[in-house]
Amino acid sequence: MSPKTLYDKIWDAHLVQEDEDGTSLIYIDRHLVHEVTSPQAFEGLRLTGRTVRAPDKTIAVPDHNVPTTEDRVNGITNPESRIQVEALDKNAKDFGIHYYPVSDVRQGIVHIIGPENGWTLPGMTIVCGDSHTATHGAFGSLAHGIGTSEVEHVLATQTLIQKKSKNMKVEITGQLSPGVTAKDIVLTIIGRTGTAGGTGYVIEYCGEAIRALSMEGRMTICNMAIEGGARAGLIAPDQTTFDYIKGREHAPKAEDWDAAVAWWQSLRSDDDAHWDKVVTIKGEEIAPVVTWGTSPEDVLPITAEVPSPEAFKGGKVGAAKRSLEYMGLQPGQKLTDVEIDTVFIGSCTNGRIEDLRAAAAVLKGHKVKPGLRAMVVPGSGLVRKQAEEEGLAEIFTEAGFEWRMAGCSMCLAMNPDQLSVGERCASTSNRNFEGRQGRGGRTHLMSPQMAAAAAITGRLTDVREMLSPEPEPA
């Protein structure tokens, strides 16, 4: 048998049919659904008299435009958001799919609750009408975003029409330096390869620095595969993966568990597999980074200065000019001199328990700079609950952060959590596009640690200055 990549193996295990030109019908193991990209798909099913083929493989949750204030139990005031959430309530009930309503403690961002409740497992095909579905690739599952027509297609047939992507390997060798996180790894990769560098590829992340990451960190990496243009990101499952999954509500049990692990252990790229593109980065070379512009590829180490548009080539010169104007920055300005107005910790990139722990560790004993708005939005109700039990919520609120209910919140500002024109935000989310966090809002992407450090000083800050030189005794 010819050697295969992990992607090849998952693909082959889900191939229902393949045409001569490579157009394939792929079976979908898990279909995640949220309120924004699904109403028109369910509308389509009703219009054509179709049903959901595999309701037991379909999981729905409202997350994108639910309010994150505690009074949301009294109902959503924005009429349009309410209509979408009510439409999902009704669709979930009418079509008999799994559902986590706003009132359920397990409600949260779709890409956080999938893994958290054991829906996401290695070797699966997982889709959702949301580009950050790539997150689930951290488990060695082939996961990617689809459009609403495809949502309807999967609901009706439990399959997707696909053509195979190319294979790309991104290897992070060695070890990370203190203060450097999974977020810095993935932003550094995008900074090198560009937002279109992964177009047409499925990326497998590997190497010692990736292996050393927790599942939370691996999810942060795969989450942003899409920002690098790739259809999906993958990390081969290993003991860290199995330990994370074991015992979760929908994870396999008893003899199923043993059979599953046996198969999962075979899910790795063969040594001599063919790669269409390879990128290698030394872990030691990665610094804590922030974005300065309006594309996730606009990445620099926090110690750098704002670049001049002339430093770029081609269409990027104009784009950089436009970015700097939008961001209100001057070439040559030190990034650490850039003052911020707001801090947002949350999103499917960095809204998990480990992210909150990391931010709280930096914040402990400090206060948010007076005048700054700072909020933490846990990725799910379960993350929120755990953080409260661990005392993290208290650290955040004592420092001056708002402690919110779970949802997407200011990651995309579809709910009331928005930036105003010119407001500058240190954000742990994944997109710094113009207007992403509110019209005219300015976003700097960074890790939770860096966002916490920025909250204390009121400007973009190198978190390493706040780390004690000697590790504290445990």
Partner: protein, 201 residues
């Protein structure tokens, strides 16, 4: 889905790179539960000021381009969020064809599902189309999917590539779901086999 065979129309030049789906249709317009009606908010933040007045400089506000059916643009068009509202907004405005040097993956697929033809051209050829588009309403561009050609206003023709299956579906207005439903036996057979080899799924 509406068929796409041949189109003769005005092309609007939008010489920007990395136009993302947030720019095509900002998220405040995603709260609809229907597919239609998004055209008036296409490119909303570039097209209107804070008070909702048209920004006269923006290409689709210029008299020559208000009826444009083709959009000519730069690298990585449609990047960002997977929202299908982006092609819905384009289609609702009347754009049936987007010509760019490259496209983001999900957006590219979404176009075909909504009767929009995305064409990726090498830079030199895209530039020829862009130059023609800049002539405004005097220049009608013809896009023929059957022969896979673009004919510029001076008669120059440019060939383009398109996936044969996508082409077949666009030409016949075929809906993917209907096509897949015909394969229901193969799907059921796969499910039977998978439930014994991977029962935990």
């Amino acid at each position: 889905m509406e068929k796409f065979t041949q189109l003769s129309g005005i092309a609007a030049p939008l010489p920007l790179v990395n136009v993302d789906t947030d720019m095509i249709i900002p998220k405040q317009f995603l709260k609809t539960i229907h597919r239609t009606g998004l055209g008036k908010n296409l490119f909303d933040e570039m097209r209107y000021d804070d008070k909702g007045n048209e920004i006269p400089d923006f290409v689709l506000n210029q008299p020559a381009y208000r009826e444009a059916q083709i959009l000519v643009t730069g690298d990585n068009f449609g990047c960002g969020s997977s929202r299908e509202h982006a092609p819905w907004a384009l289609e609702d405005f009347g754009i049936r064809c987007v010509i760019a040097t490259s496209f983001a993956d999900i957006f590219f697929n979404n176009c075909f599902k909504n009767g929009i033809l995305p064409i990726a051209l090498p830079e030199a050829e895209r530039d020829m189309v862009m130059t023609d588009a800049e002539k405004g309403a005097n220049a009608r561009i013809e896009v023929d999917l059957v022969s896979q050609t673009i004919t510029l206003s001076d008669g120059t023709t440019i060939n383009f590539d398109v996936d044969p299956f996508r082409k077949h579906c666009l030409l016949n207005g075929l809906d993917d779901i209907g096509l897949t439903m015909e394969k229901v036996d193969a799907i059921a057979a796969f499910e039977t086999q998978a439930s014994s080899s991977r029962p935990w799924v």
